[in-house]
Structures are given as structure tokens and as C-alpha cells.
């Protein structure tokens, strides 16, 4: 099927949204480049879905400006915007066949019936559902319904495709497959897509860039790698990386390196604008090395409080002077039993200095 290449950009300028007397979105600004897949990530209630619905035109901001494809659409209703959306519940019209569902938007925008049906068949073909057109949505599996919802949004050749937690109704296995399919399709067509999720692994897997939101504001924005490896705040470190947050001290700084002391351990880390003194250090669970304690062990002393076998990895909770650390270890065949005294060290690839917030 030939889908035209007309990806548009999305731009928010100082947008605020108020429900009653609650600020759902508090003065946020961001820009999404054409052809990128950007994820809005955050805990529930952070305002990510509201942001998406404002792009769609289903909500209107109290103040600020929204631009799509360079045009100001702030006061334009959903009907007149060149975006389409895949809903969390898919929102397939239960009384129309799959083909009619996909053709609905085309017909609504004035396309002739048989032309619309033809294009609808193309759309279904694109998502691998050729031949399912005559069925009712209720006769499809969850994954298939999801793909119909995507096809219905894609055939309109929107400037921006919006996806509202599109995988949350699928089981874990299917979720992995469908997210790869969506990513593949998005890159093949070169669409601009905005994707809302609360699942950080999903966000890391599909995104070009991630906008992390918390309490109605943008917490941090960046590529998946930036967010994971250089979290700017304890919130991001915790939310994206499940990182352990431990107290540390900057002993000395030079150029853009900092000498950091964690208890008796010393590390040299990339320095952002931190001063000498007490800081928080984010330690990724996989960056912690445990070994059974023996003569001459260098690390911190700790004791394994809990050990969980998960097949491909071991998860430990280890008590030590820094507090209780959460550790992921892929050496499953050298599992450490509960109650063992261990020596703890960090690999400096998984450490980051963060702002406390």
C-alpha cells in the first residue's frame, strides 16, 4: 500500500491545562521532530494522557500554544486536526465490520465508498489482516483488534499518529511482539508518532526520544540511553532504571570529572554541575557486583537478605551500610544463598550523579 510521506512536527509552547482547580499540565513546552517516535512516559496521573489528548484536540489548553506541522491548531477541534489516534481500549465500533471500521475515517472525510473500502483493504493488508475485513471486531483476538485500530488510524495518512497505551490490554508475550511491529511500521512509513505508556521497558524499546513526565511537568527529555545512563534526578533514576539511590560525597573535581566517595569505595565519574560535598548517587541494579566474602575482599560488607531466582537472572536484596540494595545478577549458576555475607562493589558504567528532588 502506498501511504504518503507527510510526517509533521508537534510543538507545545507553555501549555497549561486545568481541570476544575487542579493543574493537570503545568506550563510545559517541547518539540517533536517529524518522523520521530516520541514516548510520553510517567506514572499514572502525571498528565501524559492529557498531553496526548491535547495533541488530538480532545482537550483544549487553558493557555499556551499547540502547533502541528508548523500550523497553530490550539483552538481547532479534533475533527479538523490532521492527527489520528489509537485508543487504549481500541474503541473499534462494535456494530461495524473490520473493513467498515477502517474505512470510517476515509468516508467521514468525503472519500467515495468503494475507494474508501479499497484503501481500507490496503490498510488491513499493511497490518497483516488481509481477508479479515468482513468480520466484526468481536470476532478478532485482542492482538488483531489492536492492529485494526492501528490500520484505522494509519489509512488517514495523518501528520501525527497518537497511541494511548496501545499495548496495555495485551498479554505480556504479545505485547513484546506488537511493540516491535508498531516500531517497524512507524519507521517504514516514516511517521511522526507520539506514544503514551507507563511501562519504562516499553518506552526504552520503541522510542527515538522519551519525555518523562511527573506531577504535571516534564521531568526529563532525551534518548532512551541518555535517560537510562544519565538520569537527571532521583525520580528518573528510580522510575527508568529502578536504580538504588545512595549517599555519596564528591571529594574533588577536575575538568569534567569528579572523584566520588561511596563509603570506602572511590569512583571517577562524569561531572555535571555539582559542587564538592554530599550528593546522591544512582546505582543500577545490574551495576552491583556481589562476591562471597573472603580474605582480602575490597568492597563493602553486606548480608543477603533475600534471593529470588527468575530463570535468566537472580535478584538479591542486600543489607549494607548504605541501606538495602536491590541487585540484579545474571550469573544464575553461581547463586548466592540467603544469609551469606558478601562483598559489594560497583562497576562505574552504571553509576550516575543525580539531583535530589
Amino acid at each position: 500500500m502506498s501511504l504518503k510521506h507527510r510526517a509533521g512536527s508537534v510543538c507545545f509552547e507553555n501549555v497549561t491545562k486545568i481541570f476544575g482547580d487542579v493543574k493537570a499540565i503545568d506550563n510545559i513546552s517541547f518539540t517533536i521532530e517529524p518522523g520521530h517516535l516520541v514516548t510520553l512516559l510517567g506514572p499514572s496521573g502525571c498528565g501524559k494522557t492529557t498531553t496526548l489528548r491535547m495533541i488530538a484536540g480532545l482537550e483544549h489548553p487553558a493557555s499556551g500554544r499547540i502547533m502541528i506541522g508548523g500550523k497553530d491548531v490550539t483552538s481547532l477541534p479534533a475533527t479538523d486536526r490532521d492527527v489520528s489516534m489509537v485508543f487504549q481500549s481500541y474503541a473499534l465500533f462494535p456494530h461495524m465490520s473490520v473493513a467498515e471500521n477502517v474505512a470510517y475515517g476515509l468516508k467521514a472525510s468525503g472519500m467515495k465508498k468503494n475507494e474508501a473500502m479499497e484503501k481500507s483493504a490496503d490498510g488491513l493488508d499493511l497490518v497483516g489482516l488481509a481477508g479479515y475485513g468482513h468480520r466484526l471486531p468481536s470476532e478478532l483476538s485482542g492482538g488483531q483488534q489492536q492492529r485494526v485500530a492501528v490500520a484505522r488510524a494509519l489509512v488517514l495518512e495523518p501528520e501525527v499518529l497518537l497511541l494511548d497505551e496501545p499495548l496495555s490490554n495485551l498479554d505480556a508475550k504479545l505485547r513484546r511482539r506488537v511493540r516491535e511491529e508498531i516500531r517497524e511500521l512507524q519507521q517504514k512509513i516514516g511517521l511522526t508518532a507520539v506514544y503514551v505508556t507507563h511501562d519504562q521497558e516499553e518506552a526504552l524499546a520503541v522510542s527515538d526520544r522519551i519525555i518523562v513526565m511527573n506531577r504535571a511537568v516534564i521531568s526529563q527529555e532525551g534518548s532512551p540511553r541518555e535517560l537510562y545512563e544519565q538520569p537527571a534526578s532521583t525520580f528518573i533514576a528510580d522510575f527508568i532504571g529502578d536504580a538504588n539511590l545512595v549517599d555519596a560525597d564528591i571529594i574533588s573535581t577536575s575538568e569534567n570529572r569528579a572523584e566520588v566517595a561511596v563509603s570506602t569505595l572511590r569512583y571517577s565519574l562524569a561531572l555535571r554541575d555539582f559542587k564538592i560535598g554530599r550528593v546522591k548517587l544512582a546505582v543500577h541494579p545490574s551495576a552491583i557486583r556481589l562476591s562471597l566474602i573472603c580474605e582480602g575482599s575490597q568492597g563493602l560488607k553486606g548480608n543477603v537478605r533475600r534471593a529470588t531466582y527468575l530463570g535468566s537472572q537472580m535478584q538479591y536484596e542486600v543489607d549494607c551500610e548504605l541501606g538495602c540494595l536491590f541487585v540484579v545478577d545474571f550469573r544464575v549458576d553461581q547463586a548466592i544463598p540467603i544469609g551469606s555475607d558478601v562483598s559489594i562493589s560497583f562497576s562505574d558504567r552504571g553509576l550516575a550523579l543525580v539531583d535530589t528532588d
Binding site: G57, A78, S89, A91, A108, E139, Q145, N169
Partner: protein, 744 residues
Amino acid sequence: MRHSFIPWLLLGWVGFLLLPWYLLEDGFWSFIWVTDGYASDMDYAPAILQGLVGERTWLLPLIFPLLIPLRLLSLTKSDPRYSRYLIIAGACGLSYLLVQGFAIGVSGWQFMGLTSLFGELELQQYGMGYGAALCGLSFLVLLTTGLAASGFLKGDVFVTSSIGLVIALVGLFVFFPVSQILLSAFISPDDLFTPMLFVEKLSSNNIWSLSCLNSGYACGIAWNSLALAISTAVLTTLLGLAFALVITRTGFRWKKSLRLLTVLPIITPPFVIGLALILLFGRSGVITTFVADLLNIEPGRWLYGFPGVLFAQVLSFTPISFLVLIGVVEGVSPSMEEASQTLRANRWKTFINISLPLMRPGLANAFLLSFIESLADFGNPMVLGGDFEVLSTEIFFAIVGAQNDQSYAAVLAILLLAFTLSAFFIQRRWLGKKSYITVTGKADSGTYMGLNPGMRRLCYSTVIPWAALTVVIYGMIMFGGFVKSWGYDNSFTLQHYSAAFAMSWGDVGIIWEGAAWDSLWTTLTISAIAAPFTALVGLLTAYLLVRQQFKYKEVFEFGTMLSFAIPGTVIGISYILAFNVPPFELTGTGIILIICFVFRNMPVGVRGGIAAMSQLDKSLDEASLTLGANSLTTFRRVILPLLRPAIIAALVYSFVRAITSVSAVIFLVSADHNMATSYIIGLVENGEFGIAIAYCSVLILVMLTAIICINLLVGQRRLRRTPSNTPSPRKTSFSSSTLKENQA
């Protein structure tokens, strides 16, 4: 199309240039006016000719608001002048239309001041007709389109216009007449404003006397009405609860038949129960004579008066309270009762402490509904009241009877309105505050606990005899028409049916000889016209209420629900007062009956629509909007098809209610447009019970047939193709995620 207002503007021009401006004596749809000198005869002429030739020059200024929008054809929507011009055109047109209509009536100027200002007016004008109606509609839509263009409601023309239209209709056909009644209560026969007279009439002994407590005289009608309403409400609520408990919490064998009882009141004209009671318990009733013979006593006339009316009302309204309570009783989650039992409460304690409190909103609802119904009931007190007078019948006699005291009727109507409105408010306030949500949407397995033996015996002993009585009563209605003369000559006859429904073959086909055909055809036609309008207005309002956010929505909702709390007799006289004179001169036409039905039954369509629409996942609408469909298309292509069950309910309900209603109708019928119910009341007043009963049974059969036909016509929602093996789900929620589960 570039401008959505163009068709509406054309409509206005058609109304102004082509259609007869005034109401036509022979009716518009007879089209006599087309052949009978349309343009030349000033009775039939459109506004433009009325103004230029017929010297009704005051109509000519209406051309300006129709000209202004033409200026906009070259402008774009975003031009600020676009919305301003439309608003000016619409608002000016609409207000000038109303002002000239009210200012000039059948006897020239309507207000003294105008006569002294402009001098006597030679010409007069009649009620507005289709030409004026189209112009008014056109102005209204121009106004709302303009408002939408200036950013109202996110600029949605369809939503703005719908809201404007509903407000205009409800204002014209609910608030305007009711305000007329309020006014007329303060006005003496010689057109003077006399608030003292109102106070005097309101405090009349006739209304508030308490002498029945300590002497043989009758009590005031206000006390009568209240006593009756409270007794009826208490009894029906208890009986309804007993029915609901028997169905949900016992192993009773004929549950399904009991459920059928809930359908009965819908298809029963309100005085039919009274009629059947007369046949059973009246002076010459079957049971009365049997008991009198057996005990050798004089047959009593206890039926005529308070006990009889109460009896009939409880019979009539128990099914309604049952209908309300069954939903609530079923809504109490079994797992709550199970939880209580695992916490070592026995069945009795569980029932008293858990189930009953959870049913409280249902009980209150049932009570208040029966209370309102009883106050508003006209048929039963009419048939069985005797000397026992209540407000609703007294209003009727104040207008129709020898006294013909309009302002007294208005005072009574205000009193009745005050009672029902207070009940309505109490119901909304009291229930609005508490949340008793027990249906959570999570699948709830578990079974209802049974009643404890004492309760079960109590329920059985009330429900079974009552159900049996109901069956007997409906038996009487079905077969009573075949008996020559009840109590005196019980032989079989067809004479009642032939008197009412005889037909024969004549030269030009069937000749409808029976006396009842006229009123039956009128009833069916008018009900059939009213039903789709009621459903449309009701569902549209429900859509606006559920799916759209706008300021003062509560006021809007209250306005649309208000007519539910206004008793039929009050509506009846308020329509007479409001629509007997220009500019809205509708009495004596069939249109006034249609309008009356539409706005009386609309609240039920609204309620049904709201209930059904709340089950539709909002993301379905939003999906449609983001796919580029506007809100009109969304309403038409997505919402309406999914609302089929609600549409059926609204159609059936409004059709059937139009057939069975008496109270408002009895004021509004005319020789040309007589309705079945008022015809039957006439028969009852003349003592022709046989024909009356025969007619009633025919009506019930007609309604049953109609219900079946509407069901077939509108058809089913086709949502899934599972023909036999899955039981049809009782409640279907249409979020797609549940659909997904369903297909598993």
C-alpha cells in the same frame, strides 16, 4: 459546502416568501390552501404578500435579518464579522418575530400602551403558521451558528444548534405554558393583577379544611390528595419490595410470569383498573353480589371513595415500584451478603444490616415515584372517586364544570405542582448525595442468599394473592366486553364490540360504522407521529447531557426533566391558557396533542438515553472525532446505531404513553381530534361500561401489537455472531475491551 448555514437560511426564505404565514383553519397538510386561492387569499398568503398587499406592514422588517447573512457568502469563517453578523441576524430576527407576535393579536394591539402610542390598529393577526415556524427555526440556527463561529462549545455547530433548539422547544412548550398558569392565578376575571385574590383562593377552606377529623364533613382536597398519595406510596413500595424479594431471593416457580407484571402498567390506560374494580367490587359487581347473597347483607358502596381509589392506585403502581426495586435488589452484590455471612451474621441480620440499607435509594425512589404518580393520577379518582375529591380531578371540574373558574383551577394547579415538584426535589437531593454503587463491573460470582423462612412466608402471602388479583383484573378487562350487563345479565354478547368496532363493505370499500373508529384512528395517528419525535428529542438531549460539557448543564438538565414532575392536568390547563391565543394558537388542532405528548414523555427518553449512553465507552466517540468525523456524523453513525435498544424503548414508551394518557389529553381534545382515552372516559361517565371495557381491551391488544412491530422494525444491534450457545448478556457494556473478553 463552505457555509453550513446556507440550507437554514434558505429555509427561512421559503418560510418568508412561499409558505402561508398564519395558521390555517383547514390544516396545512390538507393542502386545501394550494388550490383554494393560495397567493391571493390573505388567509393563505406568505409574509411578503401579507406585508406588501395585505397591509400587514409589520411583517416586512423580517426581511432584514434574512438579508444580512447573504453578505457573508463571500467571507471566510475566521473573519470576525462572520460570527457577529450571524448573531445579529439570528437574534434580531428571533426577537422581532416574537415581539410582533405578542404585540398584535386577534383584536389589534394587545397592550394598552401600544394603542395609545400608535393609535388603533385596523388589522389583526392570527396564530403563527408554518411560514412563521420556518422563519423562527431559521433565525434560531443562524444565531447558534454565529455563536459557534465565535467559539462557543469549541466551535461545534451541531452541538450548539442542538442545545439552542432544545432550549427553545422546552422554553416554548414547558416553561411558557407553566408561566402562563402562574400568571393567571394572580389575575382576576376582569384582567387585573390581584395577588390578594390568589392568597384568598389558596387558603380556601375547600382546600385545607380538616373537618373530616372531627365531624362528618369532607376534608380539604389538599389533605385528601396528600393522604392518598402517602398511603399509595407506602403500600406500593412494600408490595414492590415483596415482589422483588420473591423474584431474587426465593425458589419461586413462576418468576418469569411475575416479571411479566412489570409490563402491564405500561400498556394499561390509567382508569382501566378502576373499571375492572367496579365490575368486581362495585354495587353490582361479581364479588359484591356473591358476598351479599352469602351473608345476606346489603351490597356496599365502599369502593367509591378513598378506599377504592387507593385500591386501584396500588394495583396500578405496584408494578412500577417493582420495576424500580428489582434493579436495586439485584444490584446488591451477592458477595457483600456472603461476606456478612462469613462474618457470622445470620440471614436475618444480614438482610437487616446489609441488604436493606443498600436498597435504601431504591426504596426512596420507588416511594417518591409512586407518590408523584398518585398525586398526578387522574383516571382512577375520576372513575372511583365519588365524593372523595383530589386536586387532579378538582382542577378538571374547575375548568369544565359549572363554575368554569380558570383562576381557581390555576391555584389548584400551582398547589399540585408545588407538591410534585417538592417530591421531585427531595428525590434528587436525597439520592444525589449518597453513593450506593454495588455493581462494580468486576465479574461477581456468588448467589443471592435466600430469605429466612419468616420473611419468605410473609412475602409469599402478600405476593401470591396480589398477583392472582392482578390476573383476575386483567381477565375481567379482556372478557368483560363480552358480557351483556354486569351483575344484571351475565349472558354472552358481541354487542359492545359491534357498537364500537362494527365495519361493513360499502360501495367505496370498508365503511367504519363503529362509534370508536374515529377516536382510535386519531389516537394511533397522533401517537405514531409523536413517538419518533419524542425519541429523537429525548436521545439528542441525552447525548448533549452525557457527552458534551457546557456551562449551566445542570440547569439545562433540570429544565428538560421538569415536565416529568408536572402532573398531566396541570400541563393540560397550562396548554389551554398558553396556546389558545396568538401568536401560538394551537388549541383544537392535532398538533397540540402531538406537542403535549412529545414534551411530557421526553424525560423518559432522556433518562433511557442517558442510561444507555453511559454504557458506551466514551473513546468510541473520541475515536470517531479523531478520525475526522464531525459530531453530527458521530451521533448518526456511531451513537445512534449502538443505542438501538434505547431507541426502541423510547419509541415504544412514547407511543404507548400517548395512547394511554388521559389527564392532559382531556383538556386538549376537540371534536376533530378526539382521543381514545377521553372517549372512554365519556362512556364511563354515561355508565356504558360494556363498550368502555371492550374498547380498553382492544387498546391493550393494539399496543401489544405495536410493541412487537416496533421491535421488528428497528431491529437488533448486530455486535457479534454467536447464534445459539452463548446466553444473551443482560447488560452489555461497549467498551471494546469487554467485547474482546466476550469473544473469548
